[in-house]
């Protein structure tokens, strides 16, 4: 039997949307993660989308599944003294507690950091919340979009004509959970070496900060705010071989003019092989295509007359390239383009990802029993591959599935 990376580590979590991905990472790495849930389940259990035909069933929430694989579930009513006492006993049996409740909620139930730490000094206790445990906004109400907004992500996403865009997939929650997992692992190593536990305090707002990319330094150095620049990006000009293009059945992103891989003439070679180069082999297009890359663009910016001349020809080149991609499926454009070393990415839909050649060939998707039925279902595998102590993804628990067994063994 292979020893797991987190063999022998018990985690008790009081988490819902914000901290549960942290527990999933620990559980997939082999920790014994026990999720304490309220009767009926929390917000995530009751949020859709659900397995078809099982609307509203807490065991059938895909939102719950994705962040709660490989865990066990114990139901306790933390508003009752008996539930609080059991929860405390359970938490004190753990090496790590992860929670994401409003500040003060668990302390009011005898389950705060100070209370548990006093009884078990080696305990690692992570609080994963919108704004952290301290500061004037610590008690602010939080939901993922609030973290993305206050953390600086949304201001960078979208068209200026639209409201700023949220990134799909609860990314403020994910960012907070991933930072928590790193903090918990550091604290666990320290606790195992010294016996000293500690509190790990993660703010979703801060967890988003690193993802502002260069916006933070643009302000720090230059007192300029980066803003959302939409489809065309920082250069408000549609450039051949760059940007989001329609295909027969979807979209691809082209970045052929970036300094990697082959340049635009290689795309025209491909178009010619299929008889779709139209007049791009003729002047003035040929010359522009052979020169067009990021360096060339920088160069002509300093020569307004030349720039105007070149820019006038770009829409036609864009149109011809556009017609070529509209004749292909997104997958054909992506795979064949990449085989020709052209920097092209497919704009994957969920179905594209489910069928992605690379993921399928490598056997990334796993299969587990459907917690809401008798069948088995396919599911995404773990985020990393460890050669000696692999992460594995087991099915998420049914609500309260392990209540009796775990409380009975305390």
């Amino acid at each position: 039997m292979v020893e797991r990376a987190l063999e022998g580590v018990r985690v008790v979590e009081f988490t819902d949307e914000t901290g549960s991905y942290c527990g999933k990472l620990l559980a997939d790495l082999g920790a014994d993660v026990i999720k304490v849930e309220p009767p009926g389940g929390g917000r995530q259990r009751n949020a859709g989308p659900f397995v078809t035909g099982h609307d509203g069933e807490p065991d059938a929430s895909l939102a719950f599944w994705v962040h709660n694989t490989s865990k066990k579930s114990v139901v306790l009513d933390l508003d009752s003294p008996a539930g609080q006492a059991k929860a405390k006993q359970l938490a004190l049996s753990a090496d790590i507690v992860v929670e994401d409740n409003p500040v003060g909620y668990l302390a009011a139930r005898g389950l705060g950091y100070a209370q548990l730490h006093a009884e078990k000094p080696s305990l690692v206790y992570a609080s994963v919340t919108g704004f952290g445990q301290t500061g004037p906004h610590a008690t602010w109400a939080y939901s993922d979009i609030v973290g993305q907004a206050m953390g600086g992500l949304m201001t960078l996403a979208g068209e200026m004509a639209d409201p700023p865009n949220m990134i799909y997939g609860h990314q403020a929650d994910i960012s907070a959970s991933i930072h928590a997992a790193q903090g918990v692992m550091i604290a666990l190593l320290h606790a195992e070496e010294t016996g000293q536990g500690q509190q790990v305090d993660v703010s979703a707002q801060e967890a988003c900060s690193m993802s502002q990319e260069t916006a933070m330094q643009s302000w720090d150095f230059q007192k300029k705010n980066r803003v959302r620049t939409g489809e065309l990006g920082a250069i408000p000009l549609r450039l051949p071989g760059a940007g989001t293009l329609k295909t027969k059945d979807g979209y691809v992103l082209l970045f052929i003019i970036a300094p990697a891989g082959e340049d635009l003439p290689a795309l025209v070679d491909w178009m010619r092989e299929e008889g779709m180069q139209e007049d791009l082999d003729e002047e003035p297009y040929r010359e522009i295509i052979s020169a067009l890359n990021m360096g060339f663009l920088t160069q002509i910016m300093g020569d307004p007359a030349r720039a105007a001349q070149v820019i006038g020809h770009l829409p036609h080149i864009n149109d011809v390239i556009g017609r070529f991609f509209e004749s292909k499926t997104a997958k054909e454009a992506y795979e064949e383009g990449q085989h020709r070393r052209l920097l092209i990415g497919i704009v994957s839909t969920p179905a594209d990802l489910a069928e992605n050649t690379q993921l399928r060939t490598r056997g990334w998707y796993i299969r587990f029993p459907n917690p809401a039925g008798d069948s088995t279902v396919e599911f995404p595998g773990p985020p990393y591959r460890l050669s000696e102590s692999p992460a594995t993804v087991q099915r998420p628990p049914r609500l309260g599935e392990h209540t009796e067994a775990i409380l009975g063994a305390l």
């Binding site: 953390g151 991933i178 230059q222 490598r362």
Partner: protein, 418 residues
Amino acid sequence: MTKRPLEGLRVGDFSWFGAGPIAGNTLAQFGAEVIRVESEAKLDGLRRAHPFAMNPDGTFKDGYNVSGYFNNYNCGKLSLQLNLNVEKGQEIAYRLIEKCDVFLTNFTPRVVEKWNLTYNQLSRVNPRLIAAYAPMQGMEGPHRDFLGFGAVLTPVTGLSEMSGFPNRPPFGIGTNYPDYVVNPGHTVTAILAAVRYRKRTGKGQCIELPQLESVVNTLGTAVPEHLVNGTNPSRNGNRSISASPHGAFRCADDPESIGSVDRWVVIACRSDAEWQAAAKALGHADAATDPKFATFAARKANEDELEALIGSWTAGLKAEEAAATLQAAGVPAGVVQNAQDMLDRDPHMKARGYYRYVDHPEAGREAHDGPAAVLSETPGDVPGPSPLLGEHTMDVCERIIGLNMDEIADLLADGVLV
């Protein structure tokens, strides 16, 4: 100063751009000794990328050491200049890796193989090594040599398809988002798990983080909806299937928000009670009980109208005041903040001291992202400025690798330490 928790862990950071170096950055913040191996022969593009520090006369500083983009991801590391395109450089790399606990790279498999840095090779040099590879697609498989970096990875992972408004093409999310937290954070989590495993078993191992797998893992329910239910969901703007209203609403312009005067407040009402509290807080108790909006189902059915109505309420308000008013009523709300807000105007960020300011010998005083996990007993910190290119070449060669002065002189003369 208290001992930092990862002191004694030595990391050979053979990575570049974002996803790799940020993983090394986190380890350095918690006390690991991180040796950034880099070369003018294959320069990290971020060293030459905006934004650059400014001179007092308003011009940009120039050179390899003044990019805020690079500097933010490499705090407190040691920089060893080493040309891995030559065999001697690879020999020195092995001698360094012998002394390392962790090896880290995000170069493509082709480059890793060209430089003879595969796990098979490195584990012979150092069997206890934890070697982490974070290429875009993976070290194996039919797409392993596909080209790409953040800008191309984002659409391939599904983030572009799933984000933004449905009436717009899937043009992406404005940044190379997966590079900054998801991929480096997963990498560090795996490395630390492997450190624990090694403490218990004595065994090193190979970690592979295919960025595609790492990011699809965080793509909400999108792919499981297809795998389990056979549907193919797409983007739906700022709306939520379990909350309404859920979005960003325009407030009064703020001329003090430099170059970014449009201001927005986000609101998320996850229950009828939160909706009623929001409407009352914004001075529209009548709407709170309007049957058109009284239940979640009704609000979803009339969501266009609901959003227009809320927009009309917020239009004249200062975003900060709208957020504070809603928060006082217990409603999740916040300002769509820009970097100016994050660094200089948000009282909460200031009170928590997340950003750390460090004096850099060439760039000057600069802001850094601090550790986002705040540990009470063994806190991380920004351990120092980012290294100048090759700043620690001599130190690393002598102190860590154990080369003598004659050997170092030969390597310099042979163009290995460039």
